[in-house]
Amino acid sequence: MAMQPAARAVTVWKIYGSGEAQVQALRGVSADFERGKYTAIMGPSGSGKSTLMHCLAGLDTVNAGEVFIGDTQVTGLGDAGLTKLRRDKVGFIFQQFNLLPTLTAEENIKLPLAIAGRAPDKAWYDTVIQTVGLGDRLHHRPAELSGGQQQRVACARALVSRPEVIFADEPTGNLDSKSGNDVLNFLRDSVRHHGQTIVMVTHDPNAASYADRVVFLADGEIVDELHSPTADGVLDRMKKLDRRGDADA
């Protein structure tokens, strides 16, 4: 039996609104996200890539189909079940506003463990802290950190509880290219060296090129995928997708 994927979507439908205004954001999407892999979800805006990620992470409900994180069926979980899922199996990195302004960097990193009432694994924590490379700024508040530093803190926070999967929503969207590359390297290293599973939504071909696999979405359906991508390869596919969109219109 093949290894169970870290996250799995089975013919997921997501529909917003009704009647004339109805939008089919996801139309029977099925996808597996392998353990220890770095997967990027790409697509033009309105393609449903963010919706897919939100449904996978249990942040949004689906109209039909099933979602699994590891062996846990996400669809159908109540609030308590979702809370437990977020504590134990999922990590998040958002585009912006990722940290609590009242806590120091260190406190922010430890927050998920503190919320779950678990003690950090000392060795792992040190590893994460070392990789994040904040040094003496660990005791600073987010307001005193640069955007890139803040986002690395957010990455460390997602890593520290060793979730089955980390969902990253445009993690470099608000950063300059140098800081963005730092964050992307950091994420790729956590996959390569520590076997972390990461699912990342992006519209930036350069960011996608850091992933092991890129899944392309258009009009709520998976239309293509690419293994061991390069930035140029991704850009090519995207252009095709855009053309397809133009032809449709």
Binding site: D79, T83, F92, F94, T102
Partner: protein
């Protein structure tokens, strides 16, 4: 610009509602009190208008004279009634404290006890016979319908009536029942007993055919003023004439005067509530404008001037202020009407309602407070918002905490000298030192308020350790510390009410303990106290001769009567006149002589405690003008004693009682030999006092318990009256939390996304709420206990107190209550935060 501002206003319904509720509560309570006062006043003056309906002129003895109160003879009355223009004449033979008894032997309870003498129908038409006949003999009485109902007697039955001059209850046959014009049973719930005229004159004035005064109605076409002029010309000396209108005004002012004290207290609490409301409104607007700084910055970026932005905010505040004040005024009028009907209902008064009175003053106060406070509250943050560079605000750069340095230095600069000035006022003795102390306390309080943001950090940390469990709790602690100014302003609203309660509790507790300690020093075992249905003036209480019977009881070593009247003034001050055998009092109360001699006093002599003597600058040998009732005489100070919590003030000798309205003693103190059965002696004394209405007998522990109950009741009353201020403060916490949550929507989403449960969110907000409320309570208790201790120290200086005892139980209960209110205030905000959708919250702009 204006359009944009107004549309924005309607889009922020929650914030708008909160701001308006804040204004409505503050304005409403104040309006309610004002409307209640005005409406009651109108109703009272309505009462006296009916009482004096047909009175054109009234003749009374002049206010102050020396010697006997003059009486009108029947011949003089006849002469006056012959004055041209007089229609009806009604001679006044009346007395207060004429108390009827029920069949079970207990006295009737009513709003005042009136006895009059009459020989038939009232010539002025106020009172008329409903059934039976007017009293024809000295053994008959007529009763008002209300009195008959209260006493439970019918025509033909026997009723016992106490008249102070007679000294014991006497049985009468009820010959008839009377009513007031309009078929009313009573005017204002009072009891009325009508004696045969000659019998009443003999009892009240000691002789037949004399009157205290008279009322006259006028022939048609003769004005009140005209008749007054004609009657004054015919008046015997010692009398004066007043028009019916003048009398009505005097009487209603007098009655209203009795309510002045309550009015002042109610007004004080209403202003406290309004003051607390200022903080609530200020905080609400401050947060609302702060949250809109991005929107305002956008307007600025598009070219709106500083003035336009500020103007838009001010316009919003003006609209909110007008709407809030109007609703508050309406709520206040409603509450005032309800309070008036509840109050008059409780008095059992049958006074016709004069309709609700909303004076211009009430309307002006409501709008001035509501609008002005809102404008001020909005102005400060509006200026701040307009000064932020547009792009900085739009980019939402996390603004660093503003330094509390300037605020704290100002606070300390006020608080430290404030405490110093208060202490100076306490220990230095010069005229007005009490005001100096008050001024110092106000300075110190303002200082403390300015220091409170600085204090928030350490206090919240320490309290947080106690109440914040788990990570959610810790986040709550952090949240309450992130904006110390906001936390402090919210907490100050609560602090104000708690300060007053804390001070009152400290003073009350010290009073209770001091009294208990002092009473224990004396041999006095039993106390006899007169009734409280009328102010003491010699007509209520018991005859001194009754104490001779008490003194004859086995084991009793002494029984001393004390007379008391409050219808008096000493050196122009409204000080009660107390009379007793000073030599006996000196022994019984172990009075210490400071100057002169404490001995049995003769006519024209008095003694005083050293504090009163000091404050009025009296020395032994000084002559002081003393008025009792209508009689003024010179008294010489012959001795000064050291005040104790039990005995203080000027004390006179038995001859002074001659000037009292009646000869009844008001208090009695009984000493017993060791080993005497006190309970049996109390029972025997009660039997002796049974005929005197309202006189109570008890051993010292019973009286201490009663005193304690009175103190506890006062404290409870203060707490209840502060209820509105506390309610507003709790609403302020709720307000701050709700607005903070809107501000932190994305954070809520974030912590939920990384695994905080709904319960965790609720706990986080609950902890923040509890911390704010407990911080407010602790600030208030610190200030309140401080003020209370200073007041107690001032009372100790005046020998009213001997010790300061902090009410630890109460203080702990107040902190507990603050926690409870913190939890209550958190319910709605926590519920709103918990039901936030995680995804929407994270995406919230």
């Amino acid at each position: 610009m204006i359009k944009a501002s107004l549309r924005g206003l309607l889009h922020r319904k929650l914030r708008l509602t909160l701001a308006i509720v804040a204004i409505v509560l503050s304005v409403g309570f104040l309006s309610a009190i004002t409307v209640l006062n005005d409406t009651l006043n109108k109703r009272f003056s309505g009462l006296f208008q009916t009482l004096n309906e047909n009175v054109a002129v009234q003749v009374q003895a002049k206010e102050v004279s020396t010697g006997e109160t003059p009486r009108l003879t029947a011949a003089q009355l006849q002469q006056l009634s012959n004055v041209d223009g007089v229609n009806g004449t009604s001679g006044d033979v009346s007395d207060e404290a004429v108390v009827p008894f029920k069949k079970d032997g207990n006295e009737v309870t009513a709003q005042g006890f009136v006895g009059v003498g009459a020989s038939g129908d009232d010539p002025l038409g106020l009172i008329s016979l409903r059934e039976g006949t007017w009293p024809k003999t000295a053994s008959e009485v007529a009763l008002s319908a209300n009195t008959a109902k209260l006493a439970g007697v019918k025509r033909g039955e026997i009723i016992k009536v106490f008249v102070s001059q007679v000294g014991e209850p006497k049985p009468y046959t009820v010959s008839g029942i009377v009513e007031f014009s309009g078929g009313r049973d009573s005017l204002a719930g009072e009891s009325l007993v009508i004696f045969e005229l000659g019998h009443a004159q003999e009892m009240f004035y000691g002789q037949k055919d004399v009157f205290a005064g008279a009322s006259f109605s006028a022939d048609s076409g003769v004005s009140q003023e005209e008749l007054k002029k004609r009657i004054t010309a015919a008046l015997p000396s010692g009398f004066e004439a007043k028009t019916g209108d003048e009398v009505t005004e005097e009487q209603s002012n007098q009655l209203a005067g009795q309510f002045d004290f309550i009015k002042i207290i109610l007004n004080t609490f209403a202003y406290v509530a309004a003051f607390v409301g200022i903080f609530l409104i200020y905080n609400t607007f401050n947060i609302v404008v702060a949250q809109r700084s991005r929107e305002l910055a956008l307007l600025r970026a598009m070219g709106a001037s500083w003035g336009q932005v500020t103007g838009a905010v001010i316009l919003e505040a003006l609209i909110v202020g007008v709407v809030g004040s109007t609703l508050g005024l309406a709520a206040g009028i409603g509450a005032g009407m309800w309070g008036e009907s509840a109050l008059t209902g409780a008095l059992g008064a049958e006074i016709k309602s004069a309709g609700v009175v909303v004076s211009p003053a009430a309307i002006i106060t409501a709008y001035v407070i509501g609008i002005l406070v809102t404008l001020i509250a909005a102005f400060v943050p509006a200026i701040k918002a307009s000064l932020v560079p547009p792009l900085a605000a739009m980019r939402e750069i996390a603004r660093p905490d503003k330094s509390l340095k300037g605020l704290s230095i100002t606070g300390a600069a006020l608080a430290v000298p404030g405490v110093g000035i208060a202490l100076l006022g306490l220990y230095a003795s010069f005229t007005g030192s009490i005001f100096v102390m008050g001024f110092g306390l106000v300075l110190a309080l303002i200082g403390l308020m300015l220091l409170s943001p600085l204090l928030a950090r350490p206090v919240v940390r320490v309290v947080g350790m106690a109440v914040a469990w788990g990570q959610a709790g810790k986040l709550g602690v952090r949240n309450s510390l992130r904006n110390p100014r906001r936390t402090a302003v919210t907490a100050i609203a609560l602090m104000i009410g708690v300060t007053l309660i804390g001070a009152a509790a400290t003073v009350v507790s010290s009073f209770k303990h001091s009294l208990q300690a002092d009473i224990g020093k004396y041999d006095v075992a039993i106390m006899i106290v007169g009734p409280n249905y009328a102010p003491p003036n010699g007509k209520t209480g018991f005859e001194a001769s009754a104490l001779d019977k008490v003194e004859a009881l086995p084991g009793v070593t002494g029984a001393e009567p004390w007379w008391l009247t409050i219808e008096s003034s000493i050196a122009g001050q409204p000080i009660p006149v107390v009379a007793t055998d000073v030599a006996a009092a000196q022994k019984m109360w172990k009075l210490e002589t400071v100057g002169g001699a404490l001995r049995t006093l003769s006519a024209g002599e008095f003694v005083s405690d050293h504090n009163t003597a000091k404050s009025l600058n009296w020395k032994v040998g000084d002559s002081v003008k003393v008025r009792v009732g209508t009689t003024e005489r010179d008294y010489k100070l012959v001795g000064i004693y050291k005040a104790t919590p039990s005995v203080s003030g000027p004390v006179f000798g038995l001859p002074a009682v001659d000037d009292f309205e009646g000869k009844l003693a008001y208090q009695g103190f009984v000493t017993v030999a060791p080993g005497t059965d006190v309970a049996a002696t109390v029972a025997a004394t009660e039997k002796i006092m049974a005929g005197y209405p309202g006189v109570t007998v008890g051993d010292m522990s019973t009286f201490l318990k009663q005193f304690n109950q009175i103190f506890d009741f006062l404290l409870l009353a203060v707490t209840i009256l502060l209820g509105m201020a506390l309610l507003i403060a709790v609403l302020g916490i709720l307000n701050t939390l709700l607005l903070s949550i809107v501000e932190r929507t994305r954070e809520m989403g974030l912590v939920r996304a990384i695994g905080l449960s709904r319960g965790g969110v609720v706990r986080m907000i609950g902890v923040e709420s509890i911390l704010i409320s407990v911080f407010g309570a602790l600030l208030g208790l610190a200030a309140g206990v401080g003020i209370g201790v200073l007041l107690c120290q001032a009372l100790i200086e005046g020998d009213f107190l001997t010790e300061i005892v902090l009410p630890w139980g109460n203080l702990a209960a107040y902190v507990g209550a603050a926690m409870f209110f913190g939890i209550v205030a958190a319910i709605i905000p926590a519920w709103r935060a918990a039901k936030l959708d995680v995804l929407e919250a994270i995406a919230y702009e």
